[in-house]
C-alpha cells in the first residue's frame, strides 16, 4: 500500500450537536495534526462515537465546522468524504467473502478489475490475511474480522482513518498484540488516525495525543505523559491513573475552588510529628514491588504506594502515620 501523498489534518471548531433534547456534543474544538495517531478517550456515553460519526458524515451538528485538509466537509455526504471508518461491530457483510468485502469500496470507485485485485491482495497482505480471502466473515475469529474491517477501509486509501473501539470485541491478550499491529500499520501508512476508546491504557500505549472527553465536552488535549503529569482538572487526573484528591473538608487549606491532587506513588509515609497530612492506616495491600497503604485523612481515604524493600519496616492497620509530599508533586486543580 502506497503512502498517501500528503497526510491530512482535521479541524473541528465550535461543534454543538443535539439529538432532540439531549445535548450530546457541547462546544467541541479540536485539531488533529496530519499523520497523527489521535485518541478520543472518555467514559461510556460521553459522545466519542457521535464525534466520530460527525466526521464521517453520519451525524449532523447544529453549529460548528469540520474541516478536512482545510476544507469544510458539511456539504459532502458520507460517500463523498473519503474518510475511512472501522465500525465498533466491524460491520462486515456476511453475504460476501473477505476478498469481496475488501473489494467493495474499490468497485464503487469503478476501478479496473486488475487494479482492484492488486489492491485487495495488498490490503489483505498488509493485515496478514492473504490466505483467508475466500472465507466468509462468519468463519473468522474476532481478531481476524477486525483486521478485515481495517483492510476494507485502508484499501480505498482514505484521507483519514477512524477507528471506533476496534479492540473492544477482543480478549485481553489479543488486544495487546492487535493494538501494536494497528500502530505499526498507521506508522507505515502515515495515515492521520483517530482511535476511540474508553480504556486509558489503550490510548496511552499507542496514541500520539489524546482528547479526554466527558459528558460531551473535551476536558483536555495532550500527549499521554502531559495528561498524566499535568492534568488540567480533577476529571482528567482521576480518569488517567489513580489520584488522591483532598479538599477543604479534609482539614487542609487549598485555593478557592480547587483541590489538592497527587499520585499515590509520589507520596511517602513519615512520622506523625510535624506532618500536615496524617491519619490512621486503614488497609494494607502487598503488590509485589510496592506496598499500597490506605490512610484516612479528614473525611477522605487516600492511597500511598511505597517501594517494598525486604526487611524494611511495614506499617500495620491502625498505626497513625504522616503523609509526606514533595511540593512539586502537589497539584491544585479545579473540578
Amino acid at each position: 500500500m502506497s503512502k498517501p501523498a500528503k497526510a491530512v489534518g482535521i479541524e473541528i471548531a465550535g461543534i454543538n450537536l443535539s439529538y432532540g433534547a439531549t445535548h450530546v456534543l457541547k462546544n467541541v474544538d479540536l485539531t488533529v495534526r496530519p499523520g497523527e495517531f489521535f485518541a478520543f478517550l472518555g467514559p461510556s456515553g460521553c459522545g466519542k462515537t457521535t464525534l466520530l460519526r460527525l466526521i464521517a458524515g453520519f451525524a449532523q451538528a447544529q453549529t460548528g465546522q469540520v474541516l478536512l485538509d482545510g476544507q469544510d466537509v458539511a456539504p459532502l455526504p458520507p460517500w463523498k468524504r473519503d474518510v475511512g471508518m472501522v465500525f465498533q461491530s466491524y460491520a462486515l457483510w456476511p453475504h460476501m467473502t473477505v476478498a469481496k468485502n475488501v473489494a467493495f469500496g474499490l468497485e464503487e470507485r469503478r476501478l479496473p478489475r486488475a487494479e482492484i485485485d492488486r489492491r485487495v491482495a495488498e490490503a489483505l497482505d498488509l493485515v496478514g490475511l492473504a490466505a483467508f480471502a475466500g472465507r466468509r466473515p462468519a468463519q473468522l475469529s474476532g481478531g481476524q474480522q477486525q483486521r478485515v474491517a481495517v483492510a476494507r477501509t485502508i484499501a480505498i486509501e482514505p484521507k483519514v482513518l477512524l477507528l471506533d473501539e476496534p479492540l473492544s470485541n477482543l480478549d485481553a491478550k489479543m488486544r495487546v498484540s492487535v493494538r501494536r499491529e494497528l500502530r505499526a500499520l498507521q506508522q507505515r501508512l502515515g495515515l492521520t488516525t483517530i482511535f476511540v476508546t474508553h480504556d486509558q491504557e489503550e490510548a496511552n500505549t499507542i496514541c500520539d495525543r489524546i482528547a479526554v472527553m466527558d459528558a460531551g465536552t473535551i476536558r483536555q488535549v495532550g500527549t499521554p505523559m502531559e495528561l498524566y503529569e499535568s492534568p488540567a482538572n480533577l476529571f482528567v487526573a482521576s480518569f488517567l491513573g489513580s489520584a488522591n484528591i483532598l479538599g477543604d473538608g479534609d482539614g487542609i487549606s487549598v485555593p478557592a475552588g480547587k483541590r489538592l491532587v497527587f499520585r499515590p506513588q509520589h507520596a511517602t509515609l513519615s512520622s506523625v510529628a510535624g506532618a500536615t497530612l496524617r491519619g490512621p492506616v486503614t488497609h494494607r495491600e502487598f503488590l509485589g514491588a510496592t506496598v499500597r497503604y490506605s490512610v484516612r485523612i479528614g473525611g477522605s481515604e487516600i492511597l500511598v504506594e511505597v517501594p517494598f524493600q525486604s526487611g524494611g519496616e511495614l506499617r500495620t492497620v491502625g498505626d497513625m502515620v504522616g503523609v509526606a509530599l514533595p511540593p512539586e508533586r502537589m497539584l491544585f486543580l479545579p473540578a
Binding site: W79, M85, F87, S89, P94, F104, E108
Partner: protein, 563 residues
C-alpha cells in the same frame, strides 16, 4: 409427590393423545388416502405408477401444469415489482405515506382474490371501464385480463403485500452499520440497496415469495371465475366434479400439488441455508432515514397512490357491482339499486348464517387445539410433543382442494346409521376449515404463551395451586388476549375459505358465504347478489380484524401491568 407427577403427566398424555387422534383422523387419513389412491390402479388395489404416466401423457394436464408454474412465477415477479419500491421507500426514507403502505398488508387477508375476480373483469377486462376509457381517449386497449394474464394480474395485486411485509421486516432488522459501512466506502442510493440491503434481506424476501408462489399454485376459484380452466388446481376440481371421485386423475393432480408445495418450501429453505444473517440492531438510533427531496417525494406519492388504486380496485369494483342494476360495456354501472342486498339478506341469508356458524366452530376448535399444542410443546416435557406441532404445521403444505378431495374420498364410505355418508354432513366442512386454519392459530397460541414468563406459573404453584388449577387461573387468563386475537383472525380467514369447501358442499342449504358467492358469480344474473355477499364478507372480516387488533392491544396492556 410421585403420584402427583404421575397423574399430571397422565393428564398431559391423554390430552396429547386426543389431539393426535384428531389430527390423524382429519388430516393424516384424508391426505394419505389421496396419495394412496393416486398410486393404486383404478378398480384394483395394486400399487402402480400408471396413473402418473397417464398424467404425463395427457397433453391437457401437462399444459395445465406449466400454465400453473408460469402464472405462479409471473405473479411472484409482478408482486415483487410492486413490493420492492414500497419496501425501499418505507424503510429507508422519511415518508409520511408509510402508514398507508403498512395497512396494505392487511388487505389480502380481508378479501381473497376470487371474491374480486368478476369485479376486476368489469374494471380491467377487454370491455371493462379502464379499457373503454383508454380506447376513447388514446385509441388502444391493454389486455390486463386476457387469459392467464388476468390470473397473474389479480393474484399479483392481491398477494404482493405478503412479500412487502416480510421484506420490510427484514430490511428494518439490518444493523445500520452494515449500510453505513457501505456509504463510508463510497456507495449510496439504489446501488447500495442492491448490493448490501437487498442481499441481507433475502431471507425475508424468499419467505414472502415462496408463500405467494404456493398460494397462487393452489388457488382453484380465482382461475375458474376468470374462466381459466387450464391450470392444475382447477383441473383437479373439474375432474372430480365432472367424472367422479373414482377417477384417479384428480388424486394424481393432488399429489402433484402437494409435491409442488413441498418442493417450493424445500427449495426456499435450501436457498436460505447459511444465509440467516440475523444482523439485528446493535446500539440505539436505528437506521437514519433520508429525507425525500420535493421531486422525489412527489414521485413517491405517485407510486404509492397508483399501487393503492390497483389494490383497492377489486374492492371498489365489488362495491359498485353490488349496487349496480346493469353494468356492461360502460365505465360505470347504468343505475344503482339495493335489490341485491335485499336478495342476499332475504332468501340467501342462509349463506351468512352458515358462515357465522362454521367459522366460529372452526376457530373455536383451532384455538383449543392450538392452545393445547402450544402448552404441551412449550411447558411440558412430554415425549413426542414436537410431533403434534409438526403434524399440525404440515397442513400448510396441503392445498385446500386436496384436503377437500381427501375428505370426500375418506369419509364417503363411512355411513351414519341412517345411511347418509359422513362426507355429506356440514360438520365435515367445519373440520376441513379448522384443519386449514390450524397452523395460523397455533402460531398465535405460541406467541401468546411465549410472552408469559414461566416464573408467573411457578409462583402460582409455589403458592399451592395444582398444575391444572395453575393453567386455569394463571395461564389461560394471561393468554386470553393473544388467544382471542388468534380466534378472531382464524374466524375472519375461515369466513372466506373456499378451496376445501368447494369440494365438500353438497347442498345450497349447507353452503357458506364463500361458496354462495362463487356460485352466484358464475352467472351474469347472479353477479349483483354475489357482489353483495362479497361486500358483506369483507365487512365481517374487516370488523374481525379490527377486533383482533383490539384484543392484541389489550393483552399488551395487561402484560404491561405485570412487568
Amino acid at each position: 409427590m410421585r403420584t402427583l407427577a404421575g397423574t399430571r403427566s397422565l393428564g398431559q398424555a391423554a390430552l396429547a393423545l386426543a389431539i393426535a387422534l384428531f389430527l390423524g383422523l382429519f388430516l393424516v387419513v384424508p391426505v394419505t388416502t389421496v396419495i394412496y389412491v393416486a398410486f393404486t390402479e383404478k378398480g384394483g388395489g395394486a400399487l402402480t405408477l400408471i396413473n402418473f404416466l397417464d398424467f404425463a401423457r395427457t397433453e391437457l394436464f401437462v399444459r395445465s401444469f406449466w400454465n400453473s408454474v408460469y402464472v405462479s412465477a409471473m405473479t411472484v415477479v409482478w408482486a415483487s415489482a410492486l413490493a420492492l419500491p414500497l419496501a425501499y421507500l418505507t424503510t429507508r426514507f422519511e415518508f409520511r405515506g408509510a402508514m398507508l403502505v403498512q395497512t396494505l398488508g392487511f388487505l389480502p387477508l380481508v378479501m381473497p382474490p376470487f371474491v374480486g375476480a368478476v369485479a376486476m373483469q368489469l374494471l380491467f377486462g377487454r370491455n371493462g371501464s379502464v379499457n373503454l376509457l383508454l380506447d376513447e381517449w388514446f385509441g388502444f386497449k391493454i389486455g390486463f385480463m386476457e387469459g392467464l394474464n388476468g390470473v397473474i394480474f389479480l393474484q399479483a395485486i392481491h398477494y404482493f403485500p405478503f412479500i412487502l411485509v416480510n421484506l420490510s421486516a427484514a430490511l428494518r432488522n439490518i444493523d445500520r452499520s452494515m449500510e453505513e459501512a457501505a456509504q463510508n466506502l463510497g456507495s449510496h442510493g439504489l446501488r447500495l440497496f442492491r448490493r448490501i440491503a437487498l442481499p441481507l434481506a433475502l431471507p425475508g424476501y424468499i419467505a414472502g415469495a415462496s408463500l405467494v408462489f404456493v398460494k397462487v399454485f393452489d388457488d382453484v376459484a380465482t382461475p375458474l371465475l376468470l374462466n381459466v380452466k387450464e391450470m392444475l388446481a382447477p383441473q383437479a376440481y373439474l375432474r372430480i366434479t365432472s367424472i367422479g371421485i373414482d377417477d384417479p386423475m384428480g388424486y394424481v393432480i393432488s399429489v402433484v400439488l402437494i409435491g409442488v408445495a413441498v418442493a417450493t418450501m424445500w427449495a426456499s429453505a435450501l436457498v436460505l441455508k447459511g444465509k440467516d444473517y440475523a444482523t439485528t440492531q446493535r446500539g440505539g438510533g436505528g437506521l437514519a432515514r433520508r429525507k425525500l427531496k420535493p421531486r422525489e417525494s412527489f414521485l413517491a406519492y405517485a407510486v404509492v397512490i397508483l399501487i393503492l388504486a390497483l389494490v383497492l380496485a377489486p374492492h371498489v369494483g365489488l362495491l359498485l357491482l353490488s349496487f349496480a342494476t346493469v353494468w356492461s360495456f360502460s365505465p360505470l354501472p347504468d343505475g344503482y339499486t339495493l335489490a341485491h342486498y335485499a336478495r342476499v339478506l332475504g332468501d340467501s341469508s342462509v349463506y351468512i348464517k352458515n358462515t357465522l356458524l362454521y367459522s366460529s366452530l372452526a376457530a373455536g376448535i383451532d384455538i383449543v387445539i392450538g392452545g393445547a399444542i402450544a402448552y404441551l410443546v412449550l411447558r411440558t416435557k412430554l415425549a413426542g410433543r414436537q410431533w403434534l406441532d409438526w403434524a399440525a404445521s404440515t397442513a400448510l403444505a396441503v392445498p385446500g382442494i386436496v384436503l377437500g378431495i381427501g375428505y370426500l374420498r375418506a369419509f364417503y364410505g363411512v355411513k351414519l346409521p341412517d345411511g347418509t355418508p359422513l362426507a355429506t354432513l356440514w360438520i365435515v366442512i367445519v373440520l376441513a376449515i379448522a384443519i386449514r386454519r390450524l397452523p395460523y392459530a397455533l402460531r398465535a397460541a405460541y406467541a401468546a404463551l411465549q410472552q408469559i414468563s414461566v416464573s408467573l406459573e411457578e409462583a402460582a404453584e409455589n403458592l399451592g395451586a395444582t398444575k391444572a388449577r395453575t393453567v386455569r387461573r394463571v395461564v389461560i387468563p394471561l393468554m386470553t388476549g393473544g388467544l382471542l386475537a388468534g380466534f378472531v383472525t382464524s374466524f375472519a380467514t375461515a369466513a372466506v375459505e373456499l378451496s376445501a369447501v368447494l369440494m365438500l358442499v353438497q347442498s345450497n342449504s349447507d353452503a357458506p358465504l364463500a361458496y354462495g358467492l362463487y356460485v352466484l358469480m358464475q352467472t351474469p344474473a347472479g353477479r349483483g347478489a354475489g357482489a353483495a355477499l362479497g361486500v358483506i364478507a369483507v365487512v365481517i372480516v374487516a370488523i374481525c380484524m379490527g377486533l383482533a387488533q383490539l384484543a392484541a392491544d389489550r393483552s399488551q396492556r395487561v402484560r404491561g401491568l405485570d412487568i
